[in-house]
């Protein structure tokens, strides 16, 4: 099954700047494993030393939190979208922003 994984800006450094990556998988877990296989540097940011998904990464399958599905073992079908959303709203990288002093005052 071909699924699209959408990445937060904080992680795009590790996917050559890509905001989306398409992988073949049957479950969310398989999709994330495939993602971190393709982009090895991502792995330690998504999974801890015990191979568990880090607590501050929220995973959505087609806009639904996987906690309300079967967790990371939730099945995916072709065309599904997985979103990795930081659990916090502020504090990650501003990689995509060209930030300058402004004269808006």
């Amino acid at each position: 099954m071909s699924v699209t994984i959408q990445l937060p800006t904080a992680l795009r450094t590790f996917t050559d700047g890509l905001s989306e990556v398409v992988v073949e998988a049957a479950t969310v877990d398989e999709a994330l494993r495939q993602l971190t296989k393709n982009y090895a540097d991502l792995k330690r940011h998504l999974f801890d030393d015990d191979e568990k998904l880090r607590s501050f990464v929220n995973v959505y399958l087609n806009d639904e939190d996987i906690r309300s599905l079967n967790g990371i073992t939730a099945a995916v079908k072709s065309g599904d979208t997985i979103m990795l959303i930081p659990a916090i709203a502020g504090g990650v990288q501003y990689k995509t922003v060209t930030f300058q002093n402004t004269d808006l005052f």
């Binding site: 990445l7 916090i88 709203a89 502020g90 990689k95 060209t98 930030f99």
Partner: protein, 306 residues
Amino acid sequence: MVRSILWIILDCMTILDVVGKTPLVPLFADRAGAKIFGKAEFLNPSGSVKDRAAKAMIFDGIKTGKLTKNKTILDATSGNTGVALAMFGAVLGYRVTLCLPSNANKERKRVLKAYHAEIIATNPLESSDGALLKARQLAVENPNIYFYSDQYNNPENWKSHYNGTALEIWEQTEHNLTHFVAGMGTSGTFIGTSRRLKELNPAIKTIPMQPASPLHGLEGMRHTETTIKSGFYDTSLFDGQIDVTTEDARAMTQQLAGKYGLFVGISSGANVLAAVKLAETLPPDAIVVTILCDSGFRYLSDELWD
């Protein structure tokens, strides 16, 4: 007579008058070695250190004539600055519009609504940068509608700590502090406080705490290695750097509540952990001060407390 004078003074006060002058709390008093203190910024009226910057930015806007009664206060925020601006907007009679990533926690959204602030939700994948771009766009397109407080570039942000937080810490430690440690979001707290402390005593070391990974759970703190810097970011004030993982910060936050009765947010836990790490390398006569940024009540829905 005395009572009536006091009453007149009280009658003129607003919530703005109780910003700052927060206590300095001894931490780990049972621990041998260097002393550690936390500046209890969560006791500010809106519940976070951001009251200082928000008050300074609003007052400066009024003083310079950029914030007039017909204008709406606008900024991008992941929460605490927005809450502070919304509270002051409510008491001073200004409308407040905040660009906020939609994944900001519900406590913050509800508090903002309580203060009647307008929330413009931005893409959660883009975190604060999406909110920032949206706020800048709105400010550029509608200069007659908005007063853009621009916490990431407004010098009033760091100056509020230069003129407030730093002097309070200096007096509260009876001029004896040796080290200041704090994480950075806009970097206003760290830059303003460190700059003044070093002017008061150049021997004082000021060390930023930062998240160990670009994706982390330390709300409000930024991983600075690859970030775009705020307008007043100044590495000349850095005497080293202490990295903290989200997992370790969470453990410390839980310990602060469960063992020391300090119910604070995770950024406070991260700051305290950095202070402890630093203190372990210092002689017993050293005095380390850090910031307790906000209250744990702002994170009640977080699984940290499950």
